[in-house]
Amino acid sequence: MAFAEAVSRRFDKLRAAAGDADFVLDGAGSLTPGDAGRVAAAIEHLHLLWFDEPCPLSNLSAVRKINDESATPLGFGRHVEQPGEVQDALREEVVDILRPDLAHHGISQIRRMAALAETYYVAVAPHHDGGPIGTAAALHLAASLPNFFIQHIPIPSAEADRRMRAELTGGPVETVKDGFAPLPTAPGLGIAVHEEALEKYKERA
């Protein structure tokens, strides 16, 4: 329980610093279902947006206990291989927000998973820790899904990295203003990948 209390204290501090911003707790699949259940219950009163990947999505009956024991919304999906696994998670009522991965599942597969999730009143927040092309794809996907909730945009903290990402896509697509990333307006993904920039930033062996 010390862990749960530490999490709780940490969010108290974050809240104090960040005012009315909302937060997600990322469990990175590192807890057991039993521990995850205790944490989920202990942080229930914090009203986080959700508790992401609290444990591996392996044994559904064990995972289900987490949701049975608390009202903390749970996010799963970045590691699933098949839409059938998403369906099992929805049917077993273990998931509150679906988190398929942009690079792993792509636009087409995520659209199919989202159609399934919609009939369970489950929102979609695609997982994304890749590059700016993925971000451009994520924006189009988000605008097309009725049950889209929010998009993680992996904006690096170093200014040089941010500049590189904007250069690669021929202009910034990851600019968030007033909480929103503007939708691209050009055809296709709406970016022009800069091949010279790709060459410039290529990883050298």
């Binding site: 098949q82 059938g84 998403v86 659209r111 159609a115 009939t119 009725p146």
Partner: protein, 427 residues
């Protein structure tokens, strides 16, 4: 959360002086989407009731959307036995449609479904289907692409595999049908059951049903796929007995072996036999299909593009079905607009099996009228497949004048059939 606040805030701006609780209401495609939506607006909606014969039980209900750019879109909302209700429900959606940006079809689908408060049954499902199809027709025309390309298709360059109905019980007629099928490349037929059944079946009726299905296999031969539509005439108890008896015939599927309301009863039949079970033509919206798909018991879904919620909903149902390994064989027994619209979605389904058309191998009056309307033989197969439309949108032009020859003859009930004792039978 912030997204919702943003949408609500824009609504407040549109309706000064209204209480905040009502302020989120705004007309479609307005300020919130000004920077990102298209500049096309729907300016007119025309609704047509079209009776090919004055006593038709399924007058076609067509809807035409007109835009300020001159592009028009057609959709179909035909609802068998309830034409007047479908026409009226389309009119009820007029406020949702006029002024809307037709490119935002998902937004408008959600608005029609959610803002109706009472969730969609067949009447509302059909009206949404018609408007949805017409918006997709406009989208395709504006983008100069057939709708199946917008949906990510086609999967099969040869077209969309289909089946006609084979209603004969006569051995010689079935043999002739087989010869025609082999000559024309037709690979599949569907037939029905010969009589009406109570919830427990007599030995004589069950044996006649089994013999009928055996006769189909004997007449049509071993290499043509055969589907048998039980049309919900049988109870789960009776259906299971017949299904097990015909297992050795390797049917493509048995359709609606019991009425559709109780999906667990349908699943029970599917669990007790190896014959693939198909159902779904009476299901409305992806929500209406969820439980059946989730159970993973049936094999084939047959949702109808004119009832389930148009192209948007049929595509979603197919995506959901795929997760359970369920194939799609969409129902089509209404008019040609819905038929053609279905082909586009079929062509974009990885789990597509076969497409119905309620026609025989020989075109009749209905098919001739369709050809006159469109200038091509709509919903007729070539080499056992419906050719993919090549033109943008749904792929046809239709003149209002051509419909005038077939004025609305009013709502007529579907077949009303009764048992020998006068009690109500499933048709």
């Amino acid at each position: 959360m912030r997204r919702r606040e943003f949408l609500a805030a824009s609504g407040i701006g549109l309706l000064p002086g209204r209480p905040a609780a009502f302020a989120a209401q705004s007309s479609p495609g307005t300020d919130a989407f000004r920077a990102v939506g298209s500049r096309i607006r729907i300016t007119g909606m025309k609704v047509f009731g079209v009776s090919l014969t004055p006593d038709s039980d399924r007058p076609y209900v067509f809807v035409k959307l007109e835009t300020d750019q001159g592009v028009v879109g057609w959709g179909e909302a035909t609802l068998e036995g309830k034409a007047g209700a479908a026409l009226a429900c389309l009119e009820d959606f007029r406020d949702f449609v006029i002024g809307a940006d037709p490119m935002q079809v998902e937004h408008h689908w959600q608005s029609m479904y959610v803002h109706s408060f009472y969730r969609a049954g067949p009447v509302m499902g059909s009206a949404i289907s018609g408007i949805d199809q017409a918006m997709w027709d406009i989208r395709g025309k504006v983008l100069s692409l057939p709708v199946y390309q917008l949906l990510g298709g086609p999967f099969d360059p040869r077209g969309v595999r289909g089946y006609y109905h084979a209603d004969s019980e006569d051995r010689d007629e079935l043999l002739r049908l087989r010869q025609t099928a082999l000559r024309e490349g037709i690979s599949c037929f569907k037939s029905g059951l010969p009589e009406y059944y109570e919830w427990i079946g007599t030995r004589a009726k069950i044996e006649r049903a089994v013999r009928h299905i055996q006769g189909l296999r004997e007449g049509l031969g071993p290499d043509i796929d055969i589907a048998v539509d039980f049309h919900a005439k049988t109870s789960p108890s009776v259906a299971t007995i017949i299904c097990k008896e015909v297992e050795p015939l390797n049917l493509l599927f048995i359709e609606e072996p019991c009425p559709p309301e109780n999906v667990k009863a349908m699943a029970r039949i599917a669990r007790r036999t190896t014959v693939p079970i198909a159902t779904g033509e009476r299901l409305i919206a992806p929500y209406g299909c969820r439980e059946l798909i989730e159970m993973g018991a049936i094999d084939i879904l047959q949702t109808d593009i004119n009832h389930v919620g148009g192209i948007t909903a049929l595509w979603k149902v197919a995506a959901m079905a795929g997760a359970s390994g369920i194939s799609m064989a969409p129902h089509a027994c209404e008019g040609p607009i819905g038929g053609l619209a279905t082909l586009h979605v079929d062509a974009a389904m990885p789990n597509f099996l076969v497409q119905e058309i309620c026609s025989g191998v020989q075109p009749g009056m209905k098919e001739k009228i369709w050809e006159e309307w469109f200038g091509f033989p709509a919903m007729r197969m070539v080499n056992g497949r419906f050719p993919l439309p090549e033109k943008p949108g749904l792929g046809f032009e239709l003149s209002e004048a051509s419909l005038k020859r077939f004025p609305f003859g009013g709502t007529r009930p579907m077949a009303r059939v009764f048992h020998e004792d006068g009690s109500v039978a499933e048709w």
